[in-house]
Every structure is written in C-alpha cells, then in structure tokens.
Symmetry: C2
Subunit: 257 residues, 2 copies
C-alpha cells in the first residue's frame, strides 16, 4: 500500500484530492492518507473529515507527499516536513525540482491543465509531467500517474520551463483573445455564443493540423482591403494596436513557410 | 421546390455544397440545381458532373443563388447573373449586402466557421448569420438555414462587421498563439500534443464562464517572479515583446473587474 499525503487546498489541490479519492475506491493500493491544509473551505466535500489536518504535528508517516501550494510557498512548506528522506513532489510548472527543501527525495508531479474549482475536470485526460532525482522514485510516480491519467510524460526542468511559457500562450493569451473578442461583440450587441462553434473548431483543428497549416483569415491571405476595414472598425486604440501587431506577426510566420 | 444555384469552389463553397447535397437527400424540396465554378478541382467528389457548369450561358433559372467567392469578386461575379430580380446571398463576413450587383434581391448567408477543405465540418453546428432586404426573402433564407444548421441568427451589416473582427481575435489570433506555443515546444523538443488537453479545456471553459472569469495564470495573479522568469526564458525578441504586451493587456482588463 502506498500512503499519500497532500499539502494544499487551492485549485490544483482540489482536483488532485478528488482524483485520489476516486482512485482509492477502485485501486485501494493507493491511499490518500492525509490532507494538510490551513483552510478547509476549498477542500472537496467528499474528503472525510478525519483525513484533513491543519497542524503538521498530526502528520502520519507517508510514502509520498504531493505539494500543491503556490509557487512561492513550496520551499517554506516543505521545510516543515519532519519525515526524513520522504519522496516529495511539487505540482508547479514554473518551479525547479530544487525548490523543495533539502533532506527530502525531490520530484515534480505537474498536471498541465487550467483548473478552476467551479468546473469539474476529467483527470484521465490531464497530462501529467514527471521528474524525479532517481529512477526508482520516477517509477513510483509514474505508476501513480498512469493510474490517474492516460497522458503521462517524462519532462525535465528545462523542458517544463518551456512548457509553462508555451502554456501561457496556448491558454492565458488565448483566453485573453476570447475576452477581447467578447468585448467587440458586446459593443455591437451580438451574442458572444455565436462565436463558440468557431472557438471549438479552432481548438479542434490543431489536433489534426500543425497550427501553421491551420491558419486562415485576412492576415494569412494578406487581404489588404479586409485588414484595413478591420483596423478602421476598431475604435479602441489598444485593440487596434494589438490587431496590427498580431497581423504582422502572422504575416512574418507565413513568409517562413 | 426551391432550386438553389451556388457560385464558387473555395473552402466555403466546398462545405456548403456538401451540406446542400446532404440536405436534398432528406428534404427534396431543397434542390442544389447548379454549381457554377471555373475550377472543378476543389469541388466535392459527390457533386454529380451534370450539376457543375463553368459557363454562365448554361445557367438555369433558380429561386436562390448562394455566392461563395472571394470578397473582392462578389460584385463582378454577381454582375454576370442575367436572371433579373433573383434572390442572391453572398457568404462573406466582411462585405456589406450591397456588394451584390444591382437588379438582384440582395441578401447575406454568412456561415461563421473556419473551413479547410481537408477537414470535414458538421454543418449542423455552424452558426448561420442572415440578412436580407425584405422580410419574405429573410424568411426563405431562414427556412433553408434552419434545415442546414441548429444555429441561425439575424445579423445586420454593422453587427456582422463586428462579428468578423471578433472572429479574427477568437480564431486567427488564437491559432497564432497556438503557433507561437508550438514553436516554444519545438525549441525544447517537447511534443506539442502535451498542450492539446489544455487547449481543449481553455476553449470549453468559455462555454460556461465569461472569458473574464475564466482567466488564470501569472498575468492574472500578477505573479511577478514567474512573469520575470518567462520573459528571461524567451530569447526571441518578438515573442518576448508579445509576451509583455499581452501580459500588460490582461492586467489592464483585470483592473476593470
């Protein structure tokens, strides 16, 4: 039996705890033993009260600890762990493995997904990016990861850094484009929902085509008349500047093809 | 019976013709009578050869003509239609209704989706944005649209202009973000597929949440340490500038909340 302690109660911890509770039902060799969290409020309702601790003094010996706290807190939180030589993995995309305090077996267990507490996530589809100091620790993490998800990757710290930046472009900046798009719709009282099938198809397309080949639209075609009409339409200077900059960037990329 | 002639053989024409051929099988009151296209190469294979014409002299009297040609060609192409007072709808998001030649009953039948010939599209999910000069023409277009798709909207020319710009943000610029993201992955030899579930979830999230509420990440949290690490990581000046500009734009929007 592998006893897992989790530290944290944020978005990632919330979904990870739910996935672990689900897992121990079907594969009881994996036991979610304790969740250490100062605030119980954001913890999933299905977590049995006796598994929640808010004081490190109540810590029970574990085989693995998953630390899902904010990036800045990883070092301070892991310094409090008194169980020597424990395997401890943080869940951050941006922090190096060595953010974990010394005296522990360090590892990373990074779920690459956008988590919000209000939206359920199918953990089976969440890519889990793993790193560990030894092959045997990596093997243990990998067997847990494969029990939780169908998508498991070995990703070293440098690759994870790249992935994290790439994820900002593919998620946060993409969502910001949706936001600007919604503002343009609201201004002319067009329901944003008209754009949802386009948004879905644009995301679906890159499963089959490289984004370079999936590109369409006036910038790609260098349709000067439409580009000018769009710039003229955009009254808001910031949106207009972004429009021109991104159009230019698309055209620079088209040239390279 | 409503006889429909289509002009064009590009991406939109291709998918529209396929949808119309499908429709006439189940609802024979709608007849795809002729497709006028100079190049037969891009036409769907299932189009019977006798329905394809490449000379306007072979035109048969129709009840409705759908013009799916490039924006710049709409006026010239519709000037060739000799059937007086025919109901003619173009399929462009950016052109006004009056781009259609005089002497015809003008309308717009704009399918708001990203079409590539190599990727099949479920036409039932394609939003169709309609405009016409008279209520009776609008009613005819609407009954066709509702037979083809579950998403039909009345959108006037000004709203369509906004939608078209909004679609550039939500599709072309989004796809460009995917492209930049893929380049960052390629540079560190991380497979881009690791990001696909994140891309899918980011798109799915805005079905349930407004993009303002769906935003996550270092810009949203104003996580200065991570923002700095990302900027330091980006060696390519253009990507770095875009990163800073989009981060700034997200933070300006967060302030407004």
């Amino acid at each position: 039996m592998i006893r897992i302690n989790v530290i944290g109660s944020g978005n990632v911890a919330h979904h990870l705890i739910r996935a672990l509770l689900q897992l121990e039902k079907s594969q009881p060799q994996w036991q979610l033993q304790q969740v250490m969290a100062r605030r119980a409020k954001q913890l999933p309702h299905e977590l049995p009260a006796e598994k929640h601790i808010d004081d490190i003094a109540l810590w029970k010996t574990a085989d693995l600890c998953l630390v899902a706290v904010s990036d800045d807190a990883i070092t301070a939180v892991t310094e409090q762990i008194k169980q020597e030589d424990l395997l401890v993995a943080h869940t951050s995309g941006s922090q190096p493995m060595k953010a974990i305090a010394t005296g522990l077996r360090r590892a990373v267990f990074y779920p690459l997904q956008t988590f919000s507490i209000q939206k359920p996530v199918d953990f089976k589809t969440v890519p889990l990016c793993l790193e560990a100091e030894t092959q045997s620790d990596l093997a243990l993490l990998k067997s847990l990861a494969m029990a939780l998800s169908e998508k498991v990757y070995n990703i070293d710290s440098q690759q994870r850094k790249a992935l994290h930046v790439a994820a900002v472009f593919a998620c946060n900046f993409v969502n910001h484009m949706y936001h600007l798009s919604a503002e343009i719709c609201e201004q002319e009282k067009v329901p944003f929902e008209v754009l949802l099938p386009l948004i879905e198809e644009t995301a679906a397309k890159v499963k089959a085509l490289h984004p370079a080949d999936a590109q369409t639209g006036p910038a790609r075609r260098n349709d000067k008349k439409t580009l000018k009409a769009h710039v003229d339409f955009l009254q808001d200077e910031k949106k207009r500047d972004l429009y021109q900059l991104l159009t230019h960037s698309i055209q620079e990329h088209v040239k390279k093809l």
